[in-house]
Each structure stands twice: as structure tokens, then as C-alpha cells.
């Protein structure tokens, strides 16, 4: 049969590509071979059936999930997952070889660091905070060796995005922080040393960390105090988790936190008798004193603008702290806060984000003011917003519920002129870029399990019910978010919040767009 019939002719008949004459000729030949006729008829039937298979509608949330993944990538400072639609070319393979070589070098260096750490685990009791020279920290270091140079901060060196640090405490008194370095050859990140035998970092240094890196703090009043994980810890373990115990002495700053903290959510665990840890006291001591000079900084870049916004919010909070919140928490309630230290190298564009937990700590930077009584003033603008020529970052604060924010974003994404819709009183506004800082109350918190998977999954944001804004949580900023909201008419929702949750939305308008398009792997088309 194979010899008698041309494969292409059979396929052409099945696919309907033959001319009528060719088809008739082929059908005539098939009459001589009933088995072939049966087979061909079955193949034709298969093809017909295959083409009548019903299609299925994609999930309704498909596009919105895409936007969420992009937002998640933005939040984690990681690019979306790479999928290569083309086979690697020769140059690409060469690039991969170089990358593999670099990876091997990193592994060797990491192994050397781990081995060295295991040999002498007391060598790295302190690390250099970001943005500081080693000389500035020299007074705080009890011991030091040449290998500490590995952890020395290089002001112009790029930071690594894969750095993670955490706080752990298994000595039942001190909060201990560890830093993981995926590439010791690049600049390390800083962490705050809090050992009982070392002096706290100078206040100015800590403020400098915040000024240069943008420190965000999220916390709630009474979550159970827990530690999280560490990588490259001095103990030699690559990953470690420890329960942070409670210290017996109550802190003096608890009531300060209470003024800044919303009423506790129902599902949160309450541990009213637990005092602040030494680290929390130290952080409180150094960082809750707002510097009036911070708010007057002139931002030139987006990161600077973000920092300026935080500083501005910090100043606002200082004012707000003078009046008690509507539902103050118990003065003895102790928070667990998540610290995020984000750095950005404007030269290389690389970013790094450190997240660690501080048990029994206090919010040191809160960027929001309590919600305005007249919420949902969407038309709220300022004079600066009406002035497109202003080169300064502009900030608009809107108070609204989560459902109103959802509706606002939905309108924003479907409107032909997003900016005009966003700011109806400034239709001529032509700001090239915009940054959203959505402040919610209370900020989300994560469990230990979430901390382990935070790099993989987005943080779980529980329903918190009604609350008041006291801490900031930037859900998205629109250097990426602008792309999201304009490219994809997602159905932006704030599903993690109760629809009536009061949110404070800060719209930070940045004067200059960053039009640099990063070269990526180009699929052949």
C-alpha cells in the first residue's frame, strides 16, 4: 500500500488540498483497495472530528493574573520568567557559557565563604550597613579580619537582587540578623547588628541607610513574634528559622507605637504582655525621631522621589502622631514588623531588596496620615498638580475605600486619557510617569511560611476588615504599573481588602520618565 500510493497524495486528499480531478482519481484508485479506503475515510473523519472539537474560554481572570504576576515581579524586583521562543543561537550559547562560568565562580566563592565561616564563625559578627564606609563602622566592630573585605560596601558597585537577610534569635535575648550574599564580589547589603556585646550603629548611620535605601516598615500591633530564615549564617546553616522569644522588660516606646498602629484585627494573635526587643528599642530610639530636613529634599530620580515621598509621609506622620488615632491599640501591644531595605543603583539599574523581621519592634517609618473623614475625594488635586511645568515630584493623597479604589482603577484603565480621568480637575496634565503608593490599613503581614516562599509567591494579604491607615504598603508603582494599567485593561481589584476598608492612596507624580529600554532577548519573528 505504501508503494502504491503517494503519501503526499493521501495527505492532500485528507486535507482537501487536491483538485477535483486529482481527488476523483484518488477515489477511483481507492475502490480497488477497500482497506485503504477504510483507513482514509477514518483519517478524514478524525480530521473532521478534530476540527469540531469545542473551544474553551480562558479563565476570566487570565489577563488580570498576568498583571498580577507583573506587579509581583515589580514588587520583588525580579523580571518576569523568561521563556525562550527561539532556539539559542551560537552567540547565545556563548553567552550562556559565560553565564555558567560566572555561576561556577559564584558557587566557588560562596563555598569558600561558607567553609571559611565554619572554620572561624566569629569573624563576621558585624556587617557594614549599606551606604557606609567601613571606616565609619570601625568603632562598632569587636573583631575583624581581612576576609571582612568581602562584605565591605562599595559605593559604586551594583547590588545584587538575590540577597536576602532576616532576623533570627535563638539566644532568647537578642535579635540577631544575618545576611546572605549570593555573590560576595558585589557590594553587600547592610543589616543592623544587635548583639549585646556591640554598640548600636550611630543614629546618623541609620538615618543614612534610610535616606539612601528607602526603608519601609510594615507592622501590626500584635502578631505573634517569630523569626524567619537566614542564609549564609554564621552558624553555617544555609537556612535557619528560629522562634524569637520575648524579652521580659517592657519598652518605653510601646505607647508611641500604639499611636501609630491601627486597632488590632480580629484574627491576629494577641500577646499583650510581650515587651519590645532590644533591637526594637534600638530601632525606635534611632529612627522614630523624624529629621525635618528629610522632607525638603529635592528628588531628581524616581527612587529619590520615592524616598522623598516616604520622608514626606514620615513628616506627616509625626504631625499625625500628635493626635491619637481613632482606635488606638493597647499601649502594651507589641508589633512584629517587616523591614524592607531597598537599594537601587542608578548606574546599573540593579536593585536589591532586603526583607527581614523584627519582633517586638515599632514602626519607624510610616508614610501615611490617618484617613480623611471625607473619603473618596477623587478630584482632590493640588496646585502643583495643575502645573505641568513643575519639575518637582508631586504627591496627591486620596482617601477612599477599597471598592472605590477598584472602581477608580477600572476607569483609569478603560479611559482613553488615563491621566485626565485620574485627575479630572487637571485634564491638561501631562506628567509622563506616575507612581502610585497605595496605603492601606493595616499593612499586610506575613507568616513564617510566607516568608519562606515570598520570593516565589506574592505575600498573602488577609482580609483585615475595617481599619485605619497608619503604615504604608506600596502595592504597585507605575514604572511597571503604568505599563500594566495602560497596556492591559485588567480589572484592577483590591481583593485582599474588604471593600469598605479605608485606604489612603498616594499618587506620586514623577516629572521625568525613564525611557531607557532594556535590551532583552529578542524572539525571532
Amino acid at each position: 500500500m505504501v508503494d502504491r500510493y503517494n503519501e503526499e497524495t493521501m495527505l492532500g486528499y485528507i486535507e482537501g488540498d487536491l483538485t477535483p480531478d486529482q481527488a476523483a482519481q484518488f477515489e477511483a484508485s481507492m475502490t480497488k483497495d477497500p482497506r485503504l479506503k477504510s483507513l482514509v475515510s477514518q483519517l478524514v473523519q478524525d480530521r473532521r472530528t478534530m476540527r469540531t472539537l469545542p473551544t474553551e474560554s480562558p479563565p476570566d481572570e487570565l489577563l488580570s493574573q498576568v498583571t498580577q504576576r507583573l506587579e509581583r515581579s515589580m514588587l520583588l524586583d525580579a523580571p518576569p520568567p523568561e521563556l525562550s521562543p527561539v532556539r539559542p543561537s551560537g552567540s547565545y550559547r556563548l553567552g550562556r557559557m559565560i553565564a555558567y562560568s560566572g555561576l561556577a565562580a559564584m558557587i566557588l566563592i560562596s563555598a569558600a565563604v561558607v567553609v571559611h565561616t565554619l572554620v572561624d564563625r566569629n569573624l563576621y559578627e558585624d556587617f557594614t550597613p549599606a551606604g557606609l564606609s567601613m571606616s565609619r563602622m570601625a568603632d562598632n566592630k569587636p573583631r575583624r579580619s581581612n576576609s571582612d573585605q568581602l562584605f565591605e560596601f562599595k559605593p559604586n558597585a551594583p547590588t545584587t537582587p538575590s540577597i536576602s537577610s532576616t532576623l533570627a534569635d535563638d539566644e532568647h535575648q537578642n535579635a540577631e540578623q544575618a545576611l546572605a550574599l549570593s555573590d560576595a564580589s558585589t557590594a553587600p547589603m547592610a543589616l543592623l547588628e544587635n548583639r549585646s556585646d556591640t554598640a548600636p550603629p550611630p543614629k546618623q548611620d541609620l538615618l543614612e541607610i534610610i535616606n539612601q535605601s528607602g526603608l519601609r516598615v510594615r507592622g501590626d500591633a500584635n502578631t505573634e513574634a517569630t523569626g524567619s530564615f537566614a542564609m549564609g549564617h554564621k552558624e553555617g546553616s544555609l537556612e535557619r528559622r528560629a522562634q524569637v522569644p520575648q524579652t521580659p522588660d517592657a519598652p518605653a516606646s510601646a505607647d508611641t507605637f500604639a499611636r501609630l498602629t491601627p486597632a488590632p484585627a480580629k484574627k491576629m494573635n494577641t500577646a499583650k504582655d510581650q515587651p519590645l526587643s532590644p533591637l526594637a528599642q534600638k530601632v525606635m530610639q534611632h529612627l522614630t525621631q523624624a529629621d525635618p530636613q528629610l522632607a525638603s529634599s529635592e528628588a531628581k530620580t524616581e527612587d529619590e522621589a520615592l524616598t522623598a515621598a516616604r520622608q514626606l509621609g514620615k513628616a506627616k506622620e509625626s504631625d499625625a502622631a500628635q493626635t491619637p488615632a481613632e482606635s488606638p491599640a493597647s499601649p502594651t501591644a507589641r508589633p512584629t514588623v517587616w523591614l524592607e531595605l531597598a537599594t537601587h543603583d542608578p548606574q546599573t539599574g540593579q536593585q536589591a531588596l532586603l526583607t527581614w523581621t523584627v519582633a517586638n519592634a515599632v514602626p519607624i517609618v510610616a508614610l501615611t496620615t490617618p484617613p480623611q473623614p471625607d473619603a473618596a475625594q477623587l478630584e482632590t488635586t493640588t496646585d502643583a498638580d495643575r502645573n505641568p511645568s513643575s519639575a518637582q515630584p508631586r504627591q496627591i493623597t486620596l482617601a477612599m475605600t477599597a471598592s472605590q479604589l477598584t472602581q477608580l482603577l477600572r476607569n483609569l484603565n478603560t479611559a482613553p486619557n488615563q491621566h485626565a480621568r485620574l485627575l479630572p480637575q487637571a485634564p491638561s496634565w501631562n506628567a509622563p510617569s506616575i507612581t502610585w503608593l497605595v496605603q492601606a490599613a493595616p499593612p499586610y503581614f506575613r507568616t513564617d511560611d510566607d516568608a519562606d516562599t515570598a520570593a516565589v509567591h506574592p505575600p498573602r494579604i488577609p482580609l483585615v476588615g475595617h481599619g485605619h491607615a497608619t503604615a504604608v504598603q506600596p502595592l504597585f508603582k507605575t514604572d511597571w504599573g503604568q505599563l500594566l494599567m495602560q497596556r492591559i485593561p485588567m480589572r484592577p481589584t483590591v481583593p485582599v481588602y474588604d471593600p469598605q476598608t479605608q485606604l489612603t492612596v498616594t499618587v506620586l507624580v514623577l516629572p521625568t520618565p525613564n525611557a531607557d529600554s532594556e535590551s532583552t532577548e529578542t524572539p525571532n519573528d
Binding site: E15, T55, P81, L83, R87
Partner: protein, 229 residues
């Protein structure tokens, strides 16, 4: 043949018009999802792979040079994502669409595509017997398709589900047209063989001539000979 997209819309999207890109994705997501779904056979995984595809399109739309059709370009990304997913899945576990999964009701063959199969039922169908027969054929075909090799399944999906021309399939798969045709023919034969192999035996075989069962010239043996030839 997949519906051609508006060239102006594509051009605007490539130039960075985000609204155009949004419209492009909206238009294409249904087709891409179904292609991926037929390749993977699992609804949740298909959604995830489709998300990966859309992310990739968003990321690289600016690099689209227009040398090929935009639908072909997007389908190629989707197929590569599906292949990548199948490779990873093969390392983790083995999933077969025709496994004898029994749902709580006790029916056999329920899987992720069962809701899809449920949709096959046309309430306006006048003859229930024909409807059941068609449903059975489609189930067999779907299950057999899932058992095919990835490259053979891809050819059939592109040709029958996405209804692409040979040239488009060649661009998506990166193979010559002649290879597309020969592979398509082999895929159809393999599909038919899978259907025959998994087809349940007749109920009353004792009434049928024995030779009819053991004859070397049944369609299945013809398929084997064709495939080997």
C-alpha cells in the same frame, strides 16, 4: 486559519501603544489558551502557560520585526512555552488524560477536560444517540491526542485546532514545509493508531469471523505499515 489581526493594531502595539497591545492580547488570548490547552490537556496548567505566553508577548512585543505574521509569532511563543511545560512536567510526574480516573459518581475517564467534554453536549441535538456517539468520538480523539508525541500533537493542534496553513506551521515549528506535511501525515496515522489501540473490544466478538480479528490487513496493520514505510 487563525483570524488575522488588524495590521494597524499590530503596528501600534509594536510601537508601544499599550492600548493596542491590550486589545491584541484580548483578541488572542482565547486562541492561545485553546492551543495550549490542547497541547497540555490540563486546564489550570494551560492557564498558567498562557499567562507565561502573554507575559512573554508583553515583554518582547517591541522586538517584533514583522517578518512573520503576528499570530504565528505569538503561537510560536505559546508552543515553546507549552513544550517547556511538558518537559518539566515529564520530569515531575506522568499524567495521562485517559487514565481510569473515577470521579465520586463512578464514571470513568473524568479528568480536567471533562467539563470541556460536557460542553460537547448540544441541547438542541435532536438525536441523543448521535449526540452520544459524537461525544464518544471526541473523547476518544482527545484522549488519543494526549497520548501522541509532543511534536506530532503540536502538528495536529496547529493544523486542526488552530487551523493553520502549512507555511504558518512551518514558521511556528521551525521546520520546512515538506517536513510539516510528512509529520502531519505521520501524526494522523499515529492518532488513528492510538484510537484503535485504546478502543474497547466489541461486545459480541464470538459472532464475528476469527479471521477478521487476526487479519494482518486491518486498518491498524495498514497504519503500521504506512508508518514504517
Amino acid at each position: 486559519m487563525p483570524q488575522a489581526l488588524n495590521p494597524k493594531l499590530v503596528e501600534r502595539a509594536v510601537r508601544g501603544d499599550q492600548a493596542a497591545l491590550c486589545q491584541l492580547l484580548q483578541t488572542s488570548q482565547h486562541r492561545l489558551y485553546n492551543v495550549v490547552l490542547r497541547m497540555i490537556g490540563h486546564r489550570d496548567d494551560a492557564a498558567e502557560v498562557t499567562q507565561d505566553t502573554l507575559l512573554k508577548i508583553i515583554e518582547h512585543i517591541g522586538d517584533f520585526k514583522g517578518k512573520s505574521d503576528i499570530t504565528t509569532w505569538m503561537t510560536r511563543i505559546a508552543m515553546n512555552a507549552a513544550f517547556s511545560h511538558l518537559r518539566k512536567q515529564r520530569l515531575r510526574r506522568t499524567v495521562s488524560l485517559d487514565h481510569a480516573a473515577t470521579d465520586p459518581i463512578g464514571r470513568v475517564g473524568r479528568d480536567q477536560l471533562s467539563p470541556l467534554r460536557d460542553q460537547l453536549t448540544d441541547p438542541r441535538e435532536p438525536n441523543p444517540a448521535i449526540r452520544v456517539q459524537q461525544e464518544e468520538q471526541q473523547q476518544q480523539l482527545t484522549a488519543a491526542l494526549a497520548r501522541l508525541q509532543d511534536d506530532l500533537r503540536a502538528i495536529i493542534v496547529l493544523r486542526d485546532i488552530d487551523q493553520m496553513e502549512y507555511q504558518q506551521i512551518a514558521e511556528v515549528m521551525g521546520i520546512p514545509i515538506g517536513t510539516v506535511k510528512s509529520r502531519l501525515f505521520r501524526a494522523r496515522l499515529a492518532l488513528r493508531r492510538e484510537i484503535l489501540q485504546k478502543k474497547p473490544p466489541p461486545q459480541n466478538t464470538q459472532n464475528r469471523p476469527k479471521q477478521a480479528v487476526s487479519t494482518p490487513d486491518t486498518p491498524s496493520t495498514s497504519i503500521r505499515r504506512l508508518s514504517n514505510g
